[in-house]
């Protein structure tokens, strides 16, 4: 019995929402990055699910290839994000994004 497409999409959506919620509500910068990673991974799930359930692209590996690229990008982006967090920490001595609000009007 195949797992129906909608199950995958729901899971991806859930993951996306949880990731979004985490990105929006966590105070720690690292935790926000974790949320972002989660959102990217949910996109991966979406991609693979569609690849598996669409006959036309079964011959190619487009879904998988796309997902690997997304993983790579996510990794690079996490690295950059962490570098940013370290730079901010060196300046502000905090990783709490609530305290980095000097652009406030």
């Amino acid at each position: 019995m195949d797992v129906p497409l909608s199950w995958y999409l729901v899971v991806a959506a859930l993951l996306f929402c949880i990731g979004l919620y985490g990105a929006l509500s966590r105070r720690n910068a690292i935790a926000i990055l974790m949320g972002v990673e989660l959102m990217l991974n949910s996109v991966n799930v979406n991609l693979l699910a569609f690849w598996r359930h669409v006959e036309v692209v079964q011959a190619t590996l487009s879904g998988q290839a796309f997902a690997i690229i997304v993983i790579t990008v996510a990794a690079a982006e996490a690295a950059v994000g962490l570098a940013l967090a370290i730079a901010v920490f060196r300046n502000r001595h905090t990783v709490d994004v609530e305290e980095v609000d000097t652009m406030k009007l």
Partner: protein, 730 residues
């Protein structure tokens, strides 16, 4: 050739007018140039005037034909349904005036150079202006005598009135310590206003005349038909138009010729410089009134036995006597002569009132010469005494100069005495003038004055011309004869007080004779005063030939006055009597003290005479002060009670209204709108500020929500129809 000079008559008033314009516009700064401009102006008028006069000899018949005169119309003023013709008119009367006026003017102009102290350190600061004014005046007088209609006559009449005002008040900044003494400025105003009264009457007369006849030209009015019409249609109260108009025009003569009751201005006009007194108030302007009556004579005689001639005769003779009584108590040398002028004008007016047209005009001409002479000579005396005063004051006061200058009246005869030795030329010409004035044979005044008295007596004996009653003849004769005696008395008094005896003040003791430019005119006029009478002697009366024919226009042939030895004897007798009394009081023992010996004996009478019968005070109380108070009342009513409240109320209302506008509209609405926009913008900003928290998670949240909304909107839009179908709602 005969025509040509008459055609040029219009130039005669224009030469002095041009002189006036030139001096005022250009030559004011250069005294000598101004003098010569004035002299040339009047000189040209003199030459042309004498040319015209000589021409009138030859054409007497032509000029005195009915409808007469040599009229030359110049232009016409279109005034509605009737036209006013302006032109000039030469007849024998005009010719005679042209003989006298420019010549006497020229003499006085020449005299003025010395009088206004040209070339000395005392030269009058407004020297050129003086010559400008007298030139304008000469234009006025000359224009008057050549006018052919009442309109230009009135214009020139008023020009003369203006010049009189300007010239009397020439030294307008002069003031006296004594507040009762009238200043030149006040005297000028007084003259102008008093003659204005007369002018109003005259203007009314002219207007009525115009309304009745539709024309103002002499030729057209003095036709028998028009005169008939005026004489027989009644105006009001049964008085014919001719009488009414004649009386009103006579009002103008009363004012201008300073007759009672408008005589008050002439004596005070002596505040002006003496050439002015000589020119205006002796020779020319005051005789303009007599000229006016003479010119309008047909109107006066249009109604036989009317009251107009009686009024004229009465006022003339009354004034003659009245003024001569005042003259005997005056100490100012010029005021004596002023009252003498008033008196002599009275003679002329009285003569006209009796219909003695020729005698009146003759006396006018001779009087101009000898009165002009007398005034100029008195000016020379005053000049000399003033110089003497400066001389002694300078020497006495030493280096401080005019340290304390209490007022020294150089006009006061009590300050004079013994001047015949110091100023012989002036003295003797003065005496000649006095002899002419008092009517001593054979000087000019004898002939002209005697002719008036003879005519008066004839009127008494045989009834006057033109219906004048013989009673008037007697009345006039008595008054004029008494006046003649008083004339001789006060003139003799004047001569003895001024020239006889020893000088009573330092100033008189040092008085020098005047400069030749002042003395020569005196001599020339003295010559005329001596010989002019011979033109009018009863045996070879050239005058009569000239003027008497004029009277034929009036429709009555004047009888050639026979020489009446009785009357001549009486008039000479009273004159000599007057001289004798004067000599007894003032000449036999010349005055040494500065007190008039007549003052004590006459007592209160003397005081009344000296104060001119208190006429000035009377007019001041009855007319002047009420008029001023009326003016002030009107001012108070107008300004304080009417105008000011109105203006203030209007002002206050508008101020309140503006304030209301500000409070009700400006502040709430306009300011409110502008401020409201500002506040709203600011509120928006404050409102939007809340979104800029600086916290990245907030920004992210906003972005996420917006993205979801837009995606949601897209999905709904795309599937709207299907969903509705699925729900079963379409």
């Amino acid at each position: 050739m005969t025509e040509s000079y008459f055609n040029l008559t219009w130039l005669i008033p224009l030469f002095p007018l041009a002189a006036f314009a030139l001096i005022v516009l250009w030559t004011n700064r250069w005294r000598l140039v101004s003098t010569w401009v004035a002299w040339i102006g009047i000189g040209l008028s003199w030459i042309l005037g004498w040319a015209v006069f000589i021409q009138t000899w030859g054409s007497t018949e032509e000029l005195t034909a009915p409808g007469g005169g040599h009229p030359v119309p110049l232009f016409t003023i279109p005034t509605g349904s009737t036209q006013l013709h302006v032109g000039f008119h030469v007849d024998t009367l005009t010719g005679l005036m042209l003989f006298m006026v420019p010549f006497v003017c020229l003499m006085i102009f020449i005299y003025s150079k010395g009088y206004m102290n040209y070339g000395t350190e005392d030269v009058d600061p407004r020297y050129s202006r003086f010559f400008a004014y007298i030139s304008l005046f000469a234009c006025g007088m000359l224009g008057l005598v050549v006018s052919d209609n009442f309109l230009t006559l009135l214009v020139f009449w008023e020009i003369m009135g203006l010049c009189s005002y300007l010239l009397i008040g020439f030294w307008f900044d002069k003031s006296y310590a004594d507040p009762k003494r009238i200043t030149p400025k006040e005297a000028g105003l007084k003259a102008f206003l008093t003659t204005r009264l007369g002018d109003v009457l005259m203007l009314s007369g002219i207007l009525l005349l115009y309304s009745q006849t539709g024309t103002l030209t002499f030729r057209e009015i003095f036709t028998p038909e028009t005169l008939e019409h005026l004489a027989h249609t009644n105006a009001w109260a049964g008085m014919p138009w001719a009488t009414l108009i004649a009386l009103l025009i006579f009002g103008g003569a009363v004012g201008k010729s300073s007759q009672f009751p408008l005589h008050v201005w002439l004596p005070d006009a002596m505040e002006g410089p003496t050439p002015v007194s000589a020119l205006i108030h002796a020779a020319t302007m005051v005789s303009a009134g007599v000229y006016l009556v003479a010119r309008s004579f047909p109107l006066f005689v249009a109604v036989e036995g009317g009251i107009q001639l009686a009024v004229v005769a009465f006022i003339g003779s009354f004034t003659a006597l009245f003024a001569s009584t005042i003259a005997i108590a005056q100490n100012d040398i010029k005021r004596v002569l002023a009252y003498s002028t008033v008196s002599q004008l009275g003679y002329m007016i009285a003569a006209l009132g009796l219909g003695a047209y020729v005698a009146a005009v003759f006396h006018l001409i001779t009087h101009a010469f000898f009165k002009g002479l007398l005034f100029m000579a008195s000016g020379s005396v005053i000049h000399g005494v003033e110089h003497g005063h400066h001389h002694t004051h300078h020497h006495a006061a030493g280096p401080e100069g005019h340290a304390h200058e209490e007022e020294f009246d150089a006009n006061d005869m009590l300050n004079m005495g013994g001047l015949l030795r110091r100023m012989p030329a002036t003295g003797w010409t003065f005496i000649i003038g006095a002899l002419a004035l008092t009517g001593i044979f054979p000087w000019a005044g004898f002939w002209s004055k005697d002719e008036i008295l003879a005519d008066a007596w004839n009127a008494f004996l045989h009834g006057g011309h033109f219906g004048v009653s013989s009673n008037w003849g007697l009345f006039v004769w008595i008054l004029l004869t008494v006046a003649a005696m008083l004339t001789a008395f006060y003139t003799g008094r004047q001569i003895f007080m001024t020239f006889a005896g020893k000088p009573r003040t330092e100033a008189a003791a040092h008085a020098p004779e005047s400069v030749p430019s002042m003395v020569w005119p005196l001599v020339i006029l003295a010559g005329f005063a001596t010989v002019l009478g011979l033109a009018g002697t009863p045996w070879a009366n050239q005058f009569f030939e000239l003027i008497g024919a004029e009277a034929s226009i009036l429709g009555e042939h004047l009888a050639h006055g026979e020489f009446n030895p009785l009357i001549a004897g009486i008039s000479s007798g009273v004159a000599l009597l007057g001289w004798l009394v004067a000599w007894l009081i003032y000449g036999r023992k010349p005055l040494t003290a500065r007190v008039d010996p007549l003052e004590r004996p006459l007592g209160p009478v003397y005081t009344v005479l000296k104060n001119k019968y208190y006429f000035d005070e009377f007019y001041q109380a009855v007319i002047v002060r009420p008029a001023i108070r009326l003016g002030q009342a009107c001012y108070t009513f107008d300004n304080k009670l009417v105008i000011d409240p109105i203006v203030n109320t209007v002002g206050r209302f508008w101020a309140w209204f503006s304030d209301w506008l500000r409070r009700a509209i400006d502040n709430p609405i306009i300011d409110g709108a502008v401020n409201g926009v500002g506040r709203f913008t600011s509120w928006c900003g404050e409102f939007m500020r809340a979104t800029q928290t600086g916290k990245i998670q907030n920004y992210l949240l906003v972005a996420a929500v917006t993205a979801f909304l837009l995606i949601g909107l897209y999905i709904v839009r795309s599937n709207w129809a299907d969903w509705l179908k699925a729900l079963g709602l379409t």
